[in-house]
């Protein structure tokens, strides 16, 4: 088997990946738009099957979204905006409270006798510092979601173009492939498209369901900022394996710093997390996602770590689709290269 013939292919793949890495910050709205396009494409295909043109189908879809947002916004605007305003106004106080709680916790745990800080700093200051940092980290991540509003406005426009011209874009891109590799590349692109499309659609719909359940649960339990923490838990649910646990952390931190007695709210958050995950694993997950990701847990963990290293939270969200694409490319490509006698 002459693998040297593949050197130009690997070189091209390396150049493409390197370019993506260098432009990763600019690519954020495009990556989010690809996710949305995968999610909405079946709806547009459905309307196209009913005889509408693709452009008309997309127009109807967006009108439907606008109407839903309008109605939803009319009813939810008050509670959501008041929670957002409350969180942003109170954040400095919450950060200070987190530091105070860190100090108190350190005093209570001082009997352990082994919590000496590094150098000349006392452990008390270290705990307070870390508690303050944790609160600050969570608040900055929540607030950064609102700072991403310009990106969020750009995403629907880019999604619209992907929905309308996605096929033309794929056709244009694959047109560059030389004749010798063309049929193989076409098949590979199709299989990767099918694989990650199924995964993204399933995960996104499941996350919407989890976010909705979490929001309802937190609201009914009178947890503060339910309309922010619930959707955030839904977003974190996109991360396989660790997402549900990570999703509960912001709720616990925000609750700890925003209420005087946080043990009861924490208990509620834990119960809500368990119930939502139970419903997700037994009902919504199997129905919506179907097959679980066909990857060894170690591969999932490694992919998540690489994703986090390269692109932070967004990297973790796209880590599994990217790993799926690499896996399909490797498996299908290896067989096709033999079938077409390229190697």
């Amino acid at each position: 088997m002459s693998w040297q013939k593949l050197i130009p292919l690997f070189a091209a793949a390396g150049v493409i990946l390197g370019t993506f890495y260098l432009l990763k910050d600019l690519l954020t709205p495009f990556i989010l738009s690809v996710f949305l396009a995968y999610l909405l494409s079946p709806v547009v295909d459905f309307m196209e099957r009913r005889g509408f043109s693709r452009a008309m189908s997309i127009a109807f879809l967006y009108l439907g979204f606008a109407a839903t947002l309008g109605v939803g916004g009319f009813f939810l605007k008050g509670p959501v905006m008041s929670q957002v305003k409350g969180l942003t106004e109170n954040m400095p106080e919450y950060t200070k409270r987190a530091k105070d709680m860190g100090q108190q916790m350190q005093k209570k745990l001082s009997f352990l006798g082994s919590l000496q800080g590094s150098g000349d700093k006392s452990a008390t200051m270290d705990m307070a510092k870390y508690a303050g940092k944790a609160a600050g980290f969570v608040s900055s991540k929540i607030l950064s979601l609102f700072a991403a509003i310009p990106t969020m406005i750009l995403v629907p426009f880019i999604t619209m173009f992907f929905l309308k011209d996605g096929r033309a874009i794929k056709k244009f891109a694959i047109g560059f492939v030389p004749n010798r590799y063309f049929e193989m590349a076409l098949t590979l692109l199709y299989e990767v498209d099918q694989g990650i499309g199924r995964y993204i659609r399933g995960q996104l719909m499941d996350s919407v369901a989890v976010g909705a359940l979490y929001t309802i649960g937190l609201f009914l339990a009178h947890i503060k900022y339910a309309f922010i923490l619930g959707p955030l838990a839904g977003i974190f649910n996109l991360i396989p394996m660790f997402g549900p646990l990570i999703g509960a952390v912001p709720a616990m931190i925000v609750t700890a710093v925003s209420t005087n007695n946080f043990l009861m709210p924490w208990a509620w958050i834990a119960i809500i997390t368990l119930i939502v995950q139970l419903i997700d694993n037994v009902v919504t997950g199997p129905l919506i996602v179907g097959q679980s990701v066909d990857m060894h847990p170690l591969v999932i963990i490694f992919s998540l770590l690489v994703g986090a290293q390269v692109m932070g939270l967004l990297g973790m969200l796209i880590a599994i689709p990217a790993a799926t694409a690499i896996k399909v490319t490797f498996l299908v490509g290896r067989n096709r290269l033999r079938d077409y006698e390229i190697v």
Binding site: R167, I174, N179
Partner: protein, 160 residues
């Protein structure tokens, strides 16, 4: 044709599409399609250019789609034996639209040729988007397979 690097791929110059509808209309598989449906088929055609003596596909390789000769000629051979010499307007490899079974012969361009390729993944996507047009195409494909099978049976009868 729109330059892929400097041109606007979304501008409908019609330069790639020009001449495709009349070519597609002559293919028996698409003869029952309306103008609108034919335009959808046009969007899934790939125009591929082959140099003299360049292999289009090899015997035994997985089949992915059919080709229509827009310009030039194609030689179909099995081993050393030449089975057919095709010219402008002819089509070949259509069985691959139905399944991935290996190609039964090798196709080579004896001179520079421009072919239109229609491939199974895109056809499946078209069937999903427009089931009525997809059904018409698949029905005509099945008719064509039936005709070829009957012709092969007759030939076998003569031999036996």
């Amino acid at each position: 044709m729109t330059d892929p690097f400097w041109g606007n791929p979304y501008k409908n110059t019609g330069s790639e599409g020009k001449g495709l509808l009349p070519i597609l209309r002559k293919i028996p598989i698409f003869e029952q399609l309306s103008e609108k449906e034919l335009k959808k088929v046009e969007t899934i055609c790939y125009e591929r250019h082959f140099n003299k003596d360049e292999e289009i596909f090899k015997e035994g390789a997985p089949g992915v789609g059919m080709f229509i000769i827009k310009e030039g000629a194609v030689k179909i051979a099995r081993g050393q034996k030449e089975l057919a010499q095709l010219s402008e307007g002819d089509f070949f490899g259509e069985v691959a639209l139905l399944d991935e079974s290996p190609r039964t012969a090798t196709a080579v361009a004896p001179e520079k040729a421009t072919l239109l390729g229609i491939f199974r993944p895109d056809l499946l996507d078209l069937v999903k988007r427009d089931p009525w047009a997809g059904s018409k195409i698949l029905l005509k494909l099945s008719e064509l397979m039936g005709k070829r099978l009957r012709a092969a049976n007759e030939k076998l009868k003569d031999v036996l």
